[in-house]
Symmetry: D2
C-alpha cells in the first residue's frame, strides 16, 4: 500500500460547494501513477514509449462524506486482485485524521495502446502489483 | 428515458488519446441535469434556490469500448430504482450507431445542502423519476 | 461572426461560486471548433487526419462580470486579423440580454502537428477566416 | 519570487497530445495559492472565511513551447505591479532545464465575495505582495 496526499483544489468543487464526484476517479488515477512510479521511466514511459495502458473496464465507488476546497485528502492505494491481464486497484480516501471519505475500486486491463487490445501484464508491472497485493 | 447527445471534446481525452474515464461521470451528470430540466427553474434552481442537491453515494460503471475526440456520444438516462430519499439512475452510453460504450449507475440521495443531511424527496423530483422509472 | 450558446455547467465554478476563469478559454475553444465546423470533416478531421492544429501562441483576456452555475453564455467569434500562418480570433462573451461578461483574443498558428512547426494556412481554413473577418 | 513544480498530468493534454492551453491558467492559479500560503489559514481561509477573493480581470499569455504528458513544469511567480485594490502577477513557466514554455500575467482585484465588489487590499495580502515585488 502506498499513500498519496493532495489538497482539494479551488476548481475541484461544484456549484454545491462540494468536490465534484468524478474528480475522485481522477485523484485515484494520480495515486495509480504514483504506485507505478518505480517502473523504469514510470507510468509516463509505460504509456508514451512502451505504449501499454491501463484503462479501467469497471469502477465501483462509495462516497461517504463530502469534501470541500482547502481540505487535504489522503489516498491509500492497494491491489485487491491480480489476474493475468487485469487487476483491481482499491483506493481509500481519508481525511488526515483518518475519517473515511470515499472508496473506489478500479478494474484495469493491461492494454496494447496501438492495437487497443488486452495484452499480457508486463513482468515489472506485475512485480509492483504483487508488492502491494492485499493479504 | 431521455437521451442526451454530446460530442467528445478536444480536451476530454487523455495522453493515451482516449476519453479520460472520469469524464463519463461528468457526462452522466449533464444527462441528469437534462432529466430534471422540467422542474420549475430546472436543476439549477433546485441547487441554488431550493438548496437541495443530489450527491452520489454509490457509482458502478462498466467501460466497454473506448471513445476518441470528435465522436458523438448518446447518453440514455432512466431511473432503475426509486426510494424514499434516494434513487438509482442508469446511464447508457452509446455511439450514434447504437454500439455500447459504457454504462454507469449512480445512487443519489436527496440532500439538504445547508444541513448536508438527507431529506425527503420533493414531490416534483419524484414525479419526474416515476415518469422515467424502468418497467 | 458566429454565435455559440452554452450553459455554465455545475462543475465549471470554483470555490468562490463563480466560473473558474480558465474555463472561458475552453469555452472559446468550443466556439472555435464551431467556427471551423464547415470544413470537410470539421475541426476533428483537421486535427486527427490532416494533422494540422491551431495552438494558441498569445492570449489576451478581459473579465468584466462574473458568471454563475445555471446561467447561459453566448459566445460571438470573429476573426480580428488574418496572416499567412496565423490569425487572431476574437471571442465576445455575453449574457442572453447582451451584457458583456468577457472578451478574449487568441492568436493561433497553423501548425503541422507531426513536425510541431508552423505551416502555411490551408486554403479551406483561410476561406472560413475571410468569411468571418471583421471589417 | 517563489517557484512551484508540478507534473503535467495524464488528463492535462488534448487530442493533439499537447497541454490544453487553458490549463496553464489553472497551473498559475495553483502557484498563486502557493504564494499566499503564508497568510494565516492560507488562501483557503481568505476565500472561505474572510470571503475575500482575487478574481482575474485581465490576463495576457504567451505560449512559447508545447508541453506533453509526463514532463515537469516549474512555475515562477512574482508581483509585477502592486496597486491599491489590484495587483499584477507574473507567472513564468519553464522546463527543469530552464527553457521557457510560457508566460502569463494576471491582473487580479481584491474582491468582497459577498458584495462582489472590489475592496481595499488586506494588509497581510499586501505584505506578501511587497515581498515578491519585482525590482
Amino acid at each position: 500500500m502506498i499513500t498519496l496526499e493532495r489538497p482539494i483544489r479551488f476548481q475541484d468543487v461544484d456549484a454545491a460547494g462540494l468536490v465534484f464526484f468524478p474528480n475522485y476517479l481522477a485523484y485515484a488515477h494520480e495515486a495509480m501513477e504514483a504506485l507505478f512510479e518505480p517502473l523504469a521511466g514510470g507510468y509516463t514511459r509505460l504509456i508514451l514509449e512502451r505504449r501499454i495502458g491501463l484503462p479501467a473496464v469497471r469502477v465501483e465507488a462509495e462516497f461517504v462524506a463530502p469534501m470541500r476546497f482547502g481540505e487535504l485528502l489522503a489516498i491509500e492505494v492497494s491491489v485487491a486482485r491480480l489476474g493475468n491481464r487485469s487487476l483491481t486497484l482499491r483506493f481509500q480516501f481519508r481525511r488526515p485524521d483518518g475519517t473515511r471519505v470515499a472508496e473506489t475500486r478500479h478494474t484495469v486491463v493491461t492494454t496494447d495502446l496501438e492495437a487497443l487490445r488486452s495484452c499480457p501484464m508486463p513482468e515489472d508491472v506485475r512485480a509492483i502489483c504483487e508488492q502491494h497485493l492485499e493479504r
